[in-house]
């Protein structure tokens, strides 16, 4: 009978998918009544042995009658035999796993954790959290690492930072005013000048091409004593004389000499033709025909010296020391078209725009006025713009040759700036501090550049790139201030008249040889094509 029972049990054991039948076996009940730990111990032990005997079964299925009996017996047996030996013995004899749970002594010498009662997530979290806190305190780092950190800290702080306190006063010092710029920027950016010089590929000779003597040239900022005609003749007023220097041939002729203590205050060539206007200390404006070396007419109209002259086709405009501007129509018997009280003090700069629409006048009253000439009447009594930004007398005036509405103006010793104006709007487009008196300004016709003549300290000519206003070159050589500038009709040469009684010719606007060659190359290609077609 027992044998049959055994077979039946074995059968039910091997059928793993069967539901657990009947009431819980006695051994289970008994162990449930016992302490938690003992259940764990026995359960775990049984599982281990089961896996060893290749019988894959759940804990609940193992019990048999025999195991019950065994369980009862174990304590006594366990005392005699080692549990392991007994287990092995059992397995050998019966080939059954179910007997094992009872084998384990309740007070076993192994710790078998209770997985059911262990809160793994909480435990894991607590462990991790604890480790983090330790990391913060630096408790769990190796001594060598700690030493390393200490050394790094000492290097950083110049001492052990943990033994120091870093204190600061809470009422902080104020920040610099908004929009304030570090003045040292000038020192750092000053070095950029030579870089921009290098950037321009054109070669600009640093020495003058020729030096002419100009004895007795009057060192007076308010006069305009040099002009270069379209016929390539340079008129220079030296004291009471006017000389004509033919730049092509190099011949010099004396045009006139004033009598007494009078001297020539200004010279101006008409745009086309041999006529030269000469302003004198008496307030007269003389008109000379230089092809015949004859005086054509004398035009009065001023009470003081005429320091500036400007032509607009047949209209000759003269500026006087009294601040008056007079427009003369040189064709008419009654030459005086209009007379305006333009400035409070002497007029030293006077220029018509290239299209003849605007007249710019600068005076010793630090004003720059812009007048418009509407068709029919050559001027109006009110300037369209009256600009007072310059801090000193405005002598240097130049209209941009490629943008008719752009005017450049330079101020005297107290001002030292070059300003650019848009005469359509009256707005100052750009201003640049030259650090030196601006005596004269001229635009290049070959390059987008402007050249300025300066006084103290370097008495140099500066060539600026427009509109960036970076320095292209500085031409030094004059030992006294550069009073006047004039440009040759071909636009390649600049003449500067210095107060050191020299005239220097600078070949600074030589056209680029590579650019000139291009059109000729194109032509030759075209002609070759023609030949081949034939």
């Amino acid at each position: 009978m027992s044998h049959l029972k055994y077979m039946k049990e074995l059968n039910s054991l091997t059928r793993m998918d069967d539901a657990i039948k009947g009431p819980a076996p006695r051994w289970q009940k008994k162990h449930l009544e016992a302490s938690n730990s003992s259940i764990n111990l026995s359960l775990n032990a049984s599982r281990k042995v089961i896996s060893g005997s290749f019988v894959n079964t759940s804990n609940g299925k193992t019990p048999t009658k025999r195991s019950d009996i065994r369980t009862k017996r174990t304590p006594s047996k366990a005392n005699k035999k080692s549990p392991m030996a007994e287990m092995l013995n059992l397995l050998l004899v019966t080939g059954r796993a179910s007997t094992t749970p009872a084998k384990t002594p309740s007070g076993g010498d192994r710790f078998i954790p209770s997985r059911a009662t262990t809160n793994f997530e909480l435990g894991h979290y607590k462990l991790q959290h604890h480790a983090d806190q330790d990391g913060d305190k630096g408790d769990n780092i190796s001594p060598s690492k700690r030493e390393m950190q200490r050394l790094i800290g000492e290097n950083f702080h110049g001492g052990d930072i943990n033994n120091m306190r870093v204190l600061s006063y809470q009422n902080k010092a104020p920040a610099p005013p908004e929009g304030y710029q570090n003045p040292l920027r000038v020192v750092y950016s000053q070095t950029k000048t030579p870089a921009s010089v290098k950037a321009s590929t054109r070669y600009i000779p640093q020495a003058p091409d020729r030096i002419l003597d100009a004895p007795e040239i009057i060192d007076d900022y308010y006069l305009n004593l040099v002009d270069w005609s379209t016929n390539n003749i340079l008129a220079v007023a030296l004291g009471a004389n006017v000389y004509l220097w033919n730049a092509a041939t190099g011949t010099i002729e004396q045009l006139l000499e004033l009598e007494g203590s009078d001297y020539v205050c200004s010279v101006a060539w008409i745009q086309e033709g041999p006529y030269l206007a000469v302003g004198s200390t008496l307030g007269n404006t003389e008109l000379w025909d230089c092809s015949q070396m004859k005086r054509v007419r004398v035009m009065n109209g001023h009470s003081a010296r005429v320091g500036s002259l400007a032509w607009n086709s047949h209209i000759l405009t003269s500026g006087c020391r009294s601040g008056q501007i007079a427009h003369h129509d040189v064709r008419q018997r009654e030459h005086l078209v209009s007379s305006i009280n333009a400035h409070a003090q002497e007029i030293c700069g006077l220029k018509w725009s290239p299209d003849g629409k605007y007249l710019a006048s600068g005076g010793n009253d630090n004003m720059l006025q812009i007048w418009s000439s509407t068709a029919g009447q050559s001027s109006q009594t009110q300037p369209i713009y009256s600009l007072n930004q310059h801090q000193a007398a405005v002598k240097a005036l130049a209209w941009c040759p490629w943008q008719n509405n752009i005017l450049a103006s330079g101020g005297g010793t107290a001002d030292r700036t070059i300003r650019f104006w848009n005469c359509n709007t009256g707005a100052c487009i750009n201003t640049i501090d030259t650090k030196s008196q601006v005596c004269s300004l001229l635009w290049s016709t070959t390059y987008k550049e402007i050249v300025s003549g300066h006084g103290y300290a370097q008495n140099q000519l500066t060539i600026w790139k427009y509109p960036a206003m970076t320095k292209v070159a500085e031409l030094t050589g004059h030992s006294s201030r550069v009073l006047h500038l004039a440009m040759s009709p071909d636009g390649t040469t600049i003449l500067s008249a210095g107060a050191d009684e020299t005239l220097r010719l600078w070949k600074c606007f030589q056209p680029d040889p590579h650019k000139k060659k291009e059109p000729s190359d194109m032509k030759s290609v075209a002609s070759r094509l023609k030949q081949s077609i034939r």
Partner: protein, 213 residues
């Protein structure tokens, strides 16, 4: 006692602290001017130690420096301060661009300090052996070097403000309106050590660190 000191041209601990404070005041003003942190119009020249310094005329800066350096002088006498750091930060990004460390070393034995702190009437106040003239000469040389640093320090091309951090002993009390802060660092910085001077009681090292681009 004081008369003999005067004759011997010795320097007391208090006098030394005052000299160090003056050095800090002129040095910091020079830095503020030379580095262009504040507009040059707000500085005016003043002669000290036979050298012309440009001192800020801004009332807020003046009072800030007076408070901080007054407190530092006190700590110098008590030998509680290790280091002073002038931090120059970008106002907008709060990035530290430059820092000037003034490290203090105490050369004389510290034993007398307690008595001086207690009364000041101790029989043996600390006395240095160095002539004031020599100390001032040394200070002049350091200040000249500070002026010379403009030639290699990078341009501070933004609005900058400054702060002074004081590194003190841990048991130093925190005065009113003072607070504990964090030390500052400049990542990848370049350091230049300037000359140091000594009053024979306080030894001063000046180090400038700046951002290495």
């Amino acid at each position: 006692m004081t008369e003999t000191q005067q004759k011997a041209k010795c320097i007391t601990l208090k006098g030394s602290a005052e000299l160090v404070k003056q050095y800090l005041l002129y040095g910091i003003n020079s830095i503020l001017y030379q580095r262009g942190i504040y507009p040059p119009e707000t500085f005016e020249p003043a002669e000290h130690f036979g050298l012309f310094f440009l001192m800020s005329t801004d009332d807020k800066i003046k009072s800030f420096l007076a408070t901080v350096l007054g407190q530092v002088e006190e700590w110098l006498v008590q030998k509680k301060v290790y280091k002073l750091t002038l931090v120059i930060t970008n106002v907008n990004t709060k990035e530290v661009l430059e820092k000037w460390d003034f490290k203090v070393d105490y050369e004389a034995p510290v034993s007398n300090t307690v008595t001086i702190m207690a009364g000041g009437d101790s029989p043996l106040p600390e006395v240095g052996t160095k002539d004031v003239k020599t100390i001032q000469k040394e200070i002049r040389e350091v200040i000249r070097q500070i002026t010379g640093t403009v030639s290699f320090l990078p341009l501070l091309d933004c609005l900058c403000s400054f702060d002074i951090l004081t590194y003190t002993v841990p048991d130093c009390g925190i005065p009113k309106e003072w607070d504990e802060t964090q030390p500052v660092f400049i990542a990848n910085s370049q350091e230049v050590q300037l000359r140091s001077f000594s009053t024979s009681i306080h030894k001063m090292d000046t180090i400038v660190s700046y951002k290495n681009n």
